[in-house]
């Protein structure tokens, strides 16, 4: 019998060095698994693997040493416990996320639920090469947004209200990028310098700075053979829907212009940032 290793790999069964043994990649979104799923995974590792799991660098779980003849059985067993197999190859991969504003005291946006929406919408979609999404809840950037093909980071859109300000100057000092300065009974904000971190909001004793949660999106990051930092195309947005529209445009751009086996960043460099920017802006204007 001919074994279609490629099909197996696409379905998350990664060929090992050892003959007819596979490291089975599972579907995880934003690094969250229920206790029940973990128990099912543990049993699967005992019964079909070598009794251990491997945690990947992108919040994934793999069960190594699954035998070729057990491929269907292990899938069925995992499915019965609410665990799906993952994907590999040229498609949208695991969407990573931190715990975000639901759990983390620093959290600005709900990274996990956005990652779930992104995964729901794109997970497994075939593209010229692999494509990684990552969502991080604030500028502390624990999930390293800019190393993803498309990264999302929480930040604050800030506004100053002079009525309660008593010009203590704390915000000016709390800002690490020098975006704020103090005048005579006036605080000046240089929006060009502002990185939307929200430190001024948190430091102000009179709540004179208001911060509204927003999303900072970066494009074209990669952290593998080639290391490139993702870059923004548009300014911080409060609109969650805009993030998905921008992602739609980015994936369509990649599908239309990407050559097989080339990462998103390579496509952007070859075709140009200008057409990508235009495509994303057009999608946002809709």
């Amino acid at each position: 019998m001919d074994v279609d290793y490629k099909a197996l790999k696409n379905g998350g069964f990664m060929r090992q060095k050892q003959k007819d043994r596979f490291s089975l990649r599972l579907k995880v979104v934003g690094g969250n698994l229920t206790a029940k799923q973990l128990m099912v995974i543990a049993t699967a590792a005992e019964n079909y693997g070598a009794g251990h799991v491997h945690l990947t660098s992108r919040q994934g779980v793999e069960i190594p040493f699954v035998k070729l003849e057990d491929v269907e059985n292990v899938k069925a067993f995992l499915a019965s416990g609410g665990v799906s197999t993952g994907v590999c190859g040229a498609r949208v991969r695991t969407v990573t996320a931190c715990q975000g504003s639901d759990i983390c005291p620093s959290g600005c946006v709900d990274a996990l639920s956005l990652a779930q929406d992104i995964s729901q919408r794109y997970f497994g979609r075939t593209l010229p090469h692999k494509f990684k999404f990552g969502v991080t809840g604030c500028l502390n950037n624990c999930l390293k947004a800019e190393e993803n093909d498309l990264g999302v980071k929480g930040g604050y859109l800030i506004d100053w209200d002079s009525s309660d300000c008593f010009f203590c100057g704390v915000c000016v000092k709390a800002c690490r990028v020098g975006a704020l300065s103090r005048g005579q009974r006036q605080i000046y904000l240089d929006r060009q310098k502002c990185v939307n971190c929200g430190r001024c909001v948190k430091a102000c004793p009179t709540n004179s700075w208001r911060g509204r949660p927003g999303y900072l999106v970066s494009f074209g990051g990669s952290f593998g053979n080639r290391i490139a930092q993702g870059r923004p195309i548009f300014a911080i947005t409060e609109d969650r829907e805009a993030v998905l529209k921008a992602a739609d445009a980015a994936l369509d751009f990649f599908t239309a212009h990407g050559q097989a086996g080339e990462r998103f960043r390579t496509t952007i460099d070859r075709v140009g940032w200008e057409p990508l920017t235009k495509a994303v802006e057009a999608a946002l204007a809709n």
């Binding site: 008593f166 203590c168 000092k173």
Partner: protein, 83 residues
């Protein structure tokens, strides 16, 4: 606008580094009654960027930040009434 800004105690943390800066302020705070004002002398850089915020997170009220023009700052903090 706070009216009475007379500190009842002063603590100088320009000679220590994080996390001792915060410990020293905490010790000084513990000796004060709720609502009393503490004056803190602190360095430019990390201390002035982070301490006002940490004190606010602890429930105290930052009243003033004064630039001493010598690389140090004076911070006036009103102790939380609950503490």
């Amino acid at each position: 606008m706070p009216t009475d800004l007379e500190p009842v105690a002063t603590v100088d943390i320009t000679d220590c580094v994080c996390p001792m800066t915060f410990v020293k302020i905490k010790v000084a705070m513990d000796e004060l009654a709720g609502g009393a004002i503490l004056a803190v002398r602190l360095n430019d850089g990390e201390p002035v960027q982070n301490l006002p915020r940490s004190l606010k997170d602890e429930g105290h009220k930052v009243l003033r930040l004064l630039d001493n023009q010598d690389g140090t700052y004076g911070l006036l903090v009103k102790k939380s009434e609950e503490a």
